[in-house]
Structure formats: C-alpha cells, structure tokens
C-alpha cells in the first residue's frame, strides 16, 4: 500500500497520538476514570459548537471547554470526594445537549465521530508535537502516578504532591482527548483511551507490561482502523472503525489470552 503525503501525515500523527492515548488511558483506567473520559470528551462538543458559530478554530473552542471541564472535575473530586459521580453524569448529559443545540447540523457528525479529511503538514506537526509532549510529561510523572494510585497517603509521605499530580494528570488526559478529537470525534475519543488500556490489563503481569500492551493495542487499533477506513470511501469518518478495531482486539485477547491473576 503506497501512501501519499497527507496519508503519511495522518498515519504518522495517528501512531504518535496512539502512543500518548495508550499511556494516558492506562493510568485513566486504573484511576477508574472511564466515566470521566466520556464527560471530558463530550465537554469538547459545546466548545466546538460555539467556535463554529463565531467562526473560530474549533480546536480552540474544544480546548477552552475541555480546560474548564477538567478544572471542574478536579475541583469536585477534591472537594466532594465520592459525590462526584452524580455531578459528572449531569455534566456529561448537559454538555452533549448544549453541543447538539449549538453545533451547526453539517458539522455535528464530524464533531461527534471525527473526520476523514487529509491531514496537512501543519496539522501533522501540531498533532505530533502535542502527542510527543503528552508522552514525555506522562513518562516523567509515571512514578508519582504509580505511588498516588497505590496509596495517596504513602505517596504524600514520599514527597509526592498528590493533589498536583492528579490535576496534572487530568490536564494531560484532557489534552489527549483534544488531540484524539480529529480522528475520533467527541463521542468516541474516550474509547481510544479506555479500550486499549482494558486490553492491556488482560495481558499485563506488572505496570511496565501493562503500559506496553496498552500502547501496543492503541497503535494496532488506530493503524488498522485508518487502513480499513481508507479503503472504504463511503465512510463519513474513521472514528467508529478505529473504535471497532480496538473493541475487536479486546474481544480477541479476552477470548484467547491466558488469564492473569
């Protein structure tokens, strides 16, 4: 299969985004953030809608509402502890409703499911730089995240600022969702973070192998999804195919992989 320049950009950026998504998704799964991932990805929708209405860059709109949502989730988690789940459910539904109302009809499908338009050199550079930045920061924070996951008290006694680490992770998480929006859209962006991580958990023997399998599954899902989508010109978007590829990998691993303790 020969790739033209824009397809090469798309595949290159997608692989780097998949690495970031696999790592961030791994920690998100362990932090039991599957619901939060949906909330955050849906928070992008009203931002996209507002940006389109005012003829601004949709990415800026999505970034703005994602940032607000991230700080909101972090604040609620910090202040109310377990009571966040109900509020998260409300934010989730409200964001989707606001986004659906504001976003112009012709842009709604693209915002929800991602787009299959060629990636420009600028788009490639932006997505790749963002993905590399996310991956680098996460790898630098990995040990603090591991300790905070195991025991926040023990992490604090070791000198880890758990509250700051949680906020940093949420921001990384939102940033990853933002980068995934191009490929998957607001409705499915969270899936690329969660499904490969769930697959990785089935195969892992420890934290290192868990993150490796999560990243690997994420790359396989994105590349397979993009390849299949590129051969199906009538498809409006690659997002659903990528998510289906991730889900298929999870099912295969669940059925055929040896069960871990």
């Amino acid at each position: 299969m020969s790739l033209n320049a824009s397809q090469a950009y798309e595949f290159g950026a997608a692989v780097l985004v998949a690495v970031a998504a696999g790592l961030v998704g791994g920690f998100a799964l362990l932090k039991r953030m599957s619901l939060a991932s949906d909330v955050l990805s849906h928070l992008a929708l009203p931002g996209i809608g507002i940006a389109l209405v005012f003829q601004l860059n949709p990415v800026l709109g999505a970034a703005s509402t994602l940032l607000v949502g991230t700080v909101l989730v972090w604040g609620l988690e910090k202040k109310t502890g377990l009571a966040t789940e109900g509020v998260i459910g409300v934010v989730f539904a409200a964001s989707l409703a606001i986004g659906a109302l504001i976003t112009p009809k012709e842009a709604l499908e693209e915002a929800l499911f991602g787009q299959l338009q060629p990636l420009t050199l600028m788009g490639f550079l932006a997505a790749s730089s963002a993905a590399i930045a996310i991956t680098t920061v996460l790898l630098l924070r990995k040990d603090s995240l591991v300790l905070a996951l195991f025991s926040p008290g023990l992490a604090s006694s070791t000198g880890v600022n758990v509250s700051r680490v949680n906020l940093e992770f949420l921001l990384l998480f939102s940033f990853t969702i933002l980068v995934c929006l191009k490929f998957l859209g607001a409705l499915l962006a969270g899936a690329l973070l969660m499904i490969p991580a769930a697959t990785g958990q089935r195969l892992a023997t420890g934290m290192k192998s868990f993150l490796q399998f999560s990243v690997l599954t994420s790359i396989v899902s994105v590349v397979a999804g993009l390849m299949i989508a590129s051969r199906m010109p009538r498809l409006p978007s690659s997002g659903p195919v990528i998510v289906l590829a991730a889900a298929a990998t999870f099912i295969l691993v669940t059925v055929f992989a040896p069960k871990r303790a």
Partner: protein
C-alpha cells in the same frame, strides 16, 4: 513476643538535640478536635509508642506528624530528618497491575535513591522472592513486609509505624515486630509506633504517648505503663491490661 533491649537513648538528655519536638499540637477530623495539647520531645534512637482507645486520635496524630493532614501547634523535626512511614492499611485493588519491585523502584526514582539502597531494604525485609509478585496477590504479612521495605528504602532516621499488625496472625506479627526492633537497634533509627498491644509496648518502647478523652500524657515507659495512668487513658478499669502488665513486671 520479642524482648528487645531497652533503647540506649536517655529519657531526658538535654545535651542531645531532639529528633522531634511537638508543642501544643491539636489534631482533629472534619472540623472536630480529637486530641489537644500534645507536648513532647523525642531523643534520637528512642522508641515511642502511641497508645490509647479506639478513636483517641492515634492515627490522626501520626498523620499530622507526617504532614499528611493539617493540624494546629508546632511540629519540629530535626533539620534534614528523613522519615519513613508504614501505614496501618492500604486498600489495594487486587487487579492493580503493579509488582512489589515496581512499587519500591517508583519510590527510589522519585527520591533519587541508589539501587543499592533499595536492595538493602529488600534484603532487610526478606522481600527478595516476592519482588516479581503483584501487590494485590501478597498475603497480609508479605504485604506488611513490603510496606516496611518501602519505608526503609532511603535509610530514614525515623520510622513512623501505624498498627503494623492489625490484620496479622500472631506468628507473622512477631516477625514484623522483630524486624522493626532490629531496624531500631542496628540502624540506629527512632521509631514511633501506634499500637494496641501493651505487652509489646512494655517490651520495646522507651517512651509512651497516651491519648484518651481528647487529652495526651507523655513520659518514659516506666512512668506511663502503670495501672493508674492506663485507667485514666482508657477511662475504665483495665482488667486485661493490668493483668498483662503485672505478668511482665
């Protein structure tokens, strides 16, 4: 029960700089004060036992000493004092894909500890064969040993231990206490231990901090482990404890 030698540190030696000075400490939870007016100072290599009935604030006190929760008053550690902490319990998801070795190395990387330091702590706690095991699959005793190795890596001067044997059987409990006492004796560490076990406290502690009814009493083990003080702390005649102490006296 292990019978440790009494710590070498003198009870009221004013020439040695205390490792910890606590003045007018007040700790509480959810806006409610649990214990107030906690005053004591601890010489290096001492072994302080914190005792008292359930809900007296023992764990809160330990957490406030570590700076994990806010408190009022003064807590002054000797400059540069390195602290190790063994919590009472860590609720871990059994599915957490984390090996014991990975946990210890995460701490080592954060604190930039040399590999030899982690290896020494692992050997000390006899954790070697368990390093590849997931933390969620360790038995209670193995898990506790892992927490002790975690606390000991970094060679802390002070080890703060919160009821380390709350969920252990007697044999494992004895092993854990031997490990802690060995750490104090051979590594010259100061140990602050929350415990319910007065027999153990009598055998190992140089100093005792009693918490009860919102108040605190501090003194040497000889001064504090007497029926008059203990009955005041526990607010009822201590049939079990008095008998226990008489047997050991």
């Amino acid at each position: 029960m292990p019978h440790a030698e009494q710590p070498a540190a003198p009870a009221h030696n004013t020439t040695v700089e205390p490792v910890l000075v606590v003045q007018h400490l007040e700790v509480g939870i959810a806006g409610k004060t649990v214990v107030r007016d906690v005053d004591f100072s601890l010489p290096p290599r001492a072994s302080l036992a914190v005792i008292g009935p359930n809900g007296a604030g023992k764990t809160l006190l330990l957490q406030s000493l570590l700076g994990l929760i806010p408190s009022r008053g003064n807590i002054r550690w000797r400059t540069g004092a390195n602290l190790g902490y063994v919590p009472q319990r860590v609720e871990t998801d059994a599915r957490l894909p984390l090996r014991a070795g990975e946990l210890l190395h995460a701490k080592a990387k954060i604190q930039r500890l040399p590999e030899s330091d982690v290896r020494a702590a692992v050997d000390w706690a006899g954790l070697g064969p368990l390093l590849e095991q997931r933390v969620g699959t360790l038995s209670s005793g193995q898990f506790q040993r892992m927490l002790i190795a975690f606390a000991l890596s970094g060679s802390p001067e002070v080890l703060l231990v919160d009821e380390p044997t709350a969920s252990l059987d007697e044999l494992v409990e004895e092993h854990i206490f031997e490990l802690l006492e060995k750490a104090r004796r051979e590594r010259g560490m100061t140990i602050i231990l929350v415990s319910h076990d007065l027999t153990l406290v009598r055998g190992t502690a140089s100093h005792v901090l009693c918490l009860g009814g919102g108040k605190a009493w501090f003194g040497t083990a000889e001064e504090m482990l007497v029926p008059e003080v203990l009955e005041r702390v526990y607010s009822h005649p201590l049939e079990f404890h008095s008998h226990d102490l008489e047997g050991k006296a």
